[in-house]
Symmetry: C2
Subunit: 208 residues, 2 copies
DNA sequence: TCCAATAACTGACCATGGTCAGGTTTTATT
DNA sequence: AATAAAACCTGACCATGGTCAGTTATTGGA
């Protein structure tokens, strides 16, 4: 009873055609993201079990895998929002700066900072982007942010009329960033050191 | 008994200061490599268990991990010999060819061919090189082959006096190769297609 | 309001990579 | 040859990521 009224009453809270089912799913997803974020940040991907994440999110251990097909996808789910923020921050900063290299570094800096918030999680994130399953949704979303980053880089490159193919060169610079951040040889570098290393690599690619 | 004679008798077979212990270890290593090679080639890394490899090598399952600290190291152990052969083949071919791009592609082609013998194992190999433990011996050896490859690339680049920093540009090209071979977006490309893709990327880096 | 049909959830269970306490073989010394 | 020390090997065992048959919740229709 009062079914009708209660439906009417809940409607305003959810303007879209959102039933109980959809609501529950969204809440669960939110709890999963919060739990995974907190635990990964606190202890690192490798020291957190999927069962722990499920427990902290208040769901069954199997349910977790309905929201992320595997542990790597879970990391992508959690980190891509921050990656997007970093890219957006870089893109904005690059607009307020003249000079090709300075524009590029404005983009590089926040991305490096994001990736090194926790070096282990950052490298795992790169690993999942490069080697994860491209058919999974969170992987696809991460790649779409990479595309945005490459667009921002290309936009900076287009300011110089001496660069023949900005889009391809942007892919190139993106590759250099990936490998530099992933490479074991750079494990000991701090963010400024990494930015310097990336600068050194791309200095050879752009006219001065 | 006859201990003394049997020692004398086995000495000629092993000219170096090689005791029983060292001999046993070398034989075991050889059996492990043969077993892992065969199984990985036949079924792919993911469909072969470490226990299967140990069984086929005729050793206990724990013994395997005295020769390779984990499954990734085992793959590196097995594949790096082939990688080295590919790089050497490319280096040699690049010497018999004029033109910067042609010289580079002479190196790229056998490396791509090696990496795509089995696409799953090839990508796993790249993954281990980028994200494996740099303190492990097989990982270090793989990286040393990368260094040889970059040297060969730099040697080709040095033929053109218009290239300012061949060594750095070689690192660059190496990064592009890594990412192009790893990227999910290129999964469907066959070796010639991959070489074309790499050519497209590096065309932007070298003077024509 | 009731009833299928469907979607979502659950946790016992499994396969596998990796560990380690205990056992065996080799070496060095006498 | 005997012994102790060192190196090496072994497989039972463990932790964990991931699966799936069975259960519960939601929805739409009558």
């Amino acid at each position: 009873m009062v079914m009708f009224y209660s439906r009417m009453a809940t409607m305003p809270e959810a303007p879209q055609p959102v039933g109980r089912r959809e609501q529950n799913k969204q809440q669960k997803l939110a709890r999963i993201m919060a739990a995974a974020s907190r635990l990964f940040d606190a202890h690192g991907l490798d020291d957190v079990t999927t069962h722990q994440v499920a427990a902290e999110a208040g769901i069954g251990s199997g349910t977790l895998f309905l929201y992320a097909r595997n542990k790597g996808e879970l990391l992508l789910l959690v980190q891509t929002a921050r990656f997007r923020t970093a890219v957006e921050e870089g893109r904005a900063a690059s607009e307020g700066v003249t000079g090709t290299m300075d524009g590029l570094l404005a983009i590089v800096r926040p991305v490096v900072a994001f990736n090194r918030e926790r070096i282990d999680n950052g490298r795992s994130y790169l690993r999942e982007m490069l080697f994860g399953d491209a058919n999974e949704p969170h992987h696809a979303e991460a790649l779409s942010v990479v595309a945005v980053m490459e667009d921002a880089i290309a936009t900076v490159l287009r300011r110089s009329e001496r660069i023949a193919d900005p889009a391809t060169l942007a892919e190139n610079i993106s590759s250099v960033m990936f490998v530099t951040l992933a490479a074991a040889r750079n494990l000991a570098l701090d963010p400024p050191g990494l930015v310097d290393e990336i600068r050194r690599q791309i200095a050879v690619l752009i006219p001065d």
